[in-house]
Structures are given as C-alpha cells and as structure tokens.
C-alpha cells in the first residue's frame, strides 16, 4: 500500500490545522481561529434569537419561533424542572444560555472547513468555571456559608468515615470543572480528528485516479468509496454528538445546581 506512505505527513498537517492558531488578519493576531468561530457562533445565535422572539404569540407562527420555543421548553421542563426540585424557574435563564451557546457552537463546527468554538480547552474550561462559580454561589446563598461546606458530608454516618467522605466529596466537586470541560472538548476535538482522517484516507486512495484516468487507477480508487461511506456515517454520528453533548452539559449543570440548592 504505497499510497499510505503519505499518511503520517497528512495527519500531521491535519493536527496542525486543528490546533489553536492566532488569526493574523484581525488586530495582528490577538484571537485564535477557535475564538473566531466562537464569535461567528455568537453572532448567529444572537440573530436567530432576536428574530425568533420578535412577535410573541400564544401559538408560534413561524418555524423559527416554534423551534426556539420548543428548545426553550425542552430546557425548562426536561432539564431544569426534573433536576432541580423547587425554584427551577430562577435558574432557567442560566441553563438556557449554556444550552444554546454550546449547541450553536457545536453546530457551527459541523460545516466543512469551520471549527467548533467549543473544540478548544479555553472555551470549555471557561464555561465549566462559570458553572462552578454559579452553583457554589447558589449553595452559599441557600444554605449559608458553613452550612454549605458541612453539607458535603453525608448524614447518619459515624465520625471518621464522615470526614473521609467529606474530603472526597469536596475534591470531586473541584474535579467537576475538569470533567465537564474535558467531556465537551474531547468529544468535539476527537470527532473532527476522526472525520479529518477519513477524509484524508479517501483522498489518498483517489489521488492516482485524479492524476491519470485508466482502468488500473480506477480500481485502485475503489477503497475510497468505502472510506467515504464510513465518513458519512461518522458525520451523522457527529451531528448526534453535537446535540447530545449540549444536552449532557446542561443536564449536569442542572444536577449540580439542584444538589447545591438543598441538602446535599
């Protein structure tokens, strides 16, 4: 398989393309390519939301208003109300912002050539740090300062085990920043790498056929059809993953808020 000899160089190219590079044209390289696409995602989200809630009627008349209201209801009922016992209406704006932000950034990354804004650790750690500060503030407000810190230990457990579990719970609460961020980042980043590798393999096998068209090169290009089918199947999986990762991020945020808002 001498066509595969160029594979390592192409994969290096792909990984370099998917890494965080400054965009030289804007202000001399102050933002990176991922932040550029996050900006595009924010602009698209603002326009969609502004158009979607313009003339609010009891029954939405345009498809866009219907879609925005359906997604908002999904966040309000299935995520906020089912994970937070009472007072879920207070936290609904934050949860809806997180959900729509992550969803739009994931979807923007699906278009060929563009990158998801959430595909870099900078954006995802910023999101998960915001979530961490938010649910700790909710915990401090609802249970008082010492009440919240003491609530990490389980009830009805004798003394030494109490303390050990308290340390483990506090540590895992800090670990939530990391796991929330890494889950979202790894799904977006690895998905793009896999799609890129399958695209590289498709083009490598078809290169002989592009250079000169003969019966031998056409047969040599037949594996490209297999790689293309696999890439299409993975593309559909990536669309599903975009929605599922937004849903899981928001759901976990709601779970952490619900746990912090009452007795742990």
């Amino acid at each position: 398989m001498e066509v595969l000899n160029e594979l390592p160089a192409e994969v290096d190219h792909l990984l370099h393309f998917l890494s965080s590079q400054p965009v030289p044209g804007i202000g001399g390289g102050v933002i990176s390519n991922y932040i550029f696409f996050m900006g595009i995602g924010i602009i698209i989200l603002s326009v969609l939301m502004w158009v979607g809630v313009r003339n609010l009627k009891l029954v939405p008349e345009h498809k866009l208003s219907n879609a925005v209201e359906a997604l908002g209801q999904f966040v309000r009922d299935d995520i906020a109300a089912s994970m937070i016992e009472h007072g879920s209406r207070k936290h609904f704006p934050f949860l809806a912002t997180i959900f729509f932000f992550v969803l739009i950034n994931n979807i923007v990354g699906l278009f060929p050539g563009s990158k998801p804004g959430t595909g870099t650790m900078g954006v995802t750690v910023a999101l998960s740090t915001t979530v961490f500060i938010y649910f700790n503030t909710v915990g401090f407000k609802n249970q008082g300062f010492f009440g919240y810190i003491k609530s990490f230990a389980p009830h009805g457990v004798p003394f030494p085990i109490n303390l050990i579990v308290w340390f483990i719970e506090v540590f895992s609460a800090f670990l939530r920043i990391f796991t929330l961020a890494v889950r979202l980042f790894a799904n977006m980043y690895a998905g793009h790498i896999i799609l890129g590798i399958f695209a590289i393999l498709t083009s490598l096998f078809a290169q002989g056929m592009i250079e000169e068209f003969s019966a031998r090169t056409v047969i040599g290009a037949l594996p490209s059809i297999g790689w293309l089918t696999l890439m299409t199947a993975l593309y559909l999986l990536e669309i599903l993953v975009a929605f599922v990762q937004a849903y899981v991020f928001t759901l976990l945020t709601a779970v952490y808020i619900g746990q912090a808002a009452e007795a742990h």
Partner: protein, 71 residues
C-alpha cells in the same frame, strides 16, 4: 515505538467503556421491553450514561495525541 505506545494507550483506554456502553444499552433495551411506557425516561438515562462513559474513552484518545506533542 511511540506508535506502539499510542496504540496501547488508546486500546486499553477504550476497552472498558466499549463494554460498559454495550452493557447499559442492552439493559436499556431490556427494560424498555419490560415496560414500554417508560421508554422516554429510560432513553434519557441511557444517553446520559453513555455520554459519561464516552468522555473517559475520548479523554484517552486526546491524551494519546497530547503526549505525541501534536495537540
């Protein structure tokens, strides 16, 4: 040599999540067959569990790329 390392890293990292997601998927199908009216709730829990476990497997993949210095 580093390719063997990367292959081992990812292979070991993804074995247990693969078994776990298959297991939870089979349990989800079985419980939907036992009580079809809970299908929505069961599907939600299945997707949630799969996303949790998948995060660990993908972290192994990203770490493999990271230790090669190409992140």
């Amino acid at each position: 040599m580093e390719f063997i390392g990367f292959g081992l890293l990812y292979g070991l990292a993804v074995t247990a999540p693969a078994i776990a997601i298959g297991w939870v998927g089979s349990k989800a199908t079985e419980s939907t067959a036992r009580q079809p009216e809970m299908a929505g709730r069961i599907f939600t829990v299945f997707i949630l569990s799969a996303a949790f476990v998948e995060a660990l497997a993908l972290l192994g993949f990203v770490l493999g790329i990271l230790v090669q210095g190409k992140l």
